[in-house]
Amino acid sequence: MEEGEGEGVIGSDVVEREEDEAATELLRDRFRLCTISIAEAEAKRNDMEVSQPIMACISDLAFKFAEELAKDLELFAQHAGRKSVNMEDVILSAHRNKHLATSLRSFCNDLKAKEPQSDRKRKKGSKKEGKAAAVIHIPDI
């Protein structure tokens, strides 16, 4: 039974990997567009230009960083016995850099403050409903 399962996994493995790579490429391109607009705005603020290969470099770096971040966040959440990543996990991922952690903390407080007051009250009334609304569930692909 185990052998049969193993073959099935290996057989679908190639297809899966191809699909995975195609999806990654698509996301990488979308990510690059976002990075370019951010980097260009920042360069303009400094009266600078960024050469094209460097832009690609920065966007690939940021993409790798995002992938590592995803792994970290999942592990942090699991370690805390949660299935859902929350803001504390993101702040924890920046714990090596105090300035960065502080800046994220204040951003986090801003986000919390932005949440309408009525929303919090509703959460108190029916915790389960509030939680379900705040969490985005990921379907298993």
């Binding site: 185990e2 399962e5 193993g6 996994v9 493995d13 995975d20 996301l27 979308r30 990510f31 976002c34 990075t35 607009s37 951010i38 980097a39 705005a41 920042e42 400094n46 009266d47 600078m48 230009e49 960024v50 050469s51 460097i54 470099c57 920065i58 770096l61 940021a62 960083f65 995002a66 992938e67 971040l69 995803a70 792994k71 966040l73 999942e74 699991q78 299935k83 859902s84 990543v85 929350n86 803001m87 996990d89 993101v90 702040i91 920046a94 850099n97 960065l100 994220l104 951003f107 986090c108 986000l111 919390k112 705040a134 969490v135 985005i136 569930h137 990921i138 379907p139 298993d140 692909i141």
Partner: protein, 102 residues
């Protein structure tokens, strides 16, 4: 502050990484059958990792800071050299410290 990453895009990237990891775990389970040990991990189909909407925004902010820091630091070096275009050498100079800081 106006430009930032699209939370949906970051969410899609996270999901992809997590599903990739889940598949790897499943494969290991299939070959080694370490059910008792891996059982607590991600591999179970019925427990995908999810992410809070605010946590996603915070991750976008973290990535935005990463990109702006890279550009700003490289810009400082380029400025010191008296050029107005960021080239490979400038990025090379700032890269080690940037990676240590994030």
């Amino acid at each position: 502050m106006d430009d930032t990453f699209d939370p949906d895009l970051i969410h899609a990237i996270f999901k992809l990484v997590w599903s990739r990891r889940a598949h790897e775990c499943e494969r290991n389970e299939g070959t080694e059958a370490l059910e008792s040990e891996v059982g607590a991990g991600t591999s179970k189909k019925n427990r995908p990792t999810s992410v809070n909407a605010n946590a996603l925004k915070l991750s976008c902010e973290l990535l935005r800071v990463f990109v702006t820091e890279a550009v700003q630091r490289a810009a400082t070096i380029a400025e010191a050299e008296g050029v107005s275009k960021i080239e490979a050498t400038h990025l090379e100079r700032i890269l080690p410290q940037l990676l240590l800081d994030f």
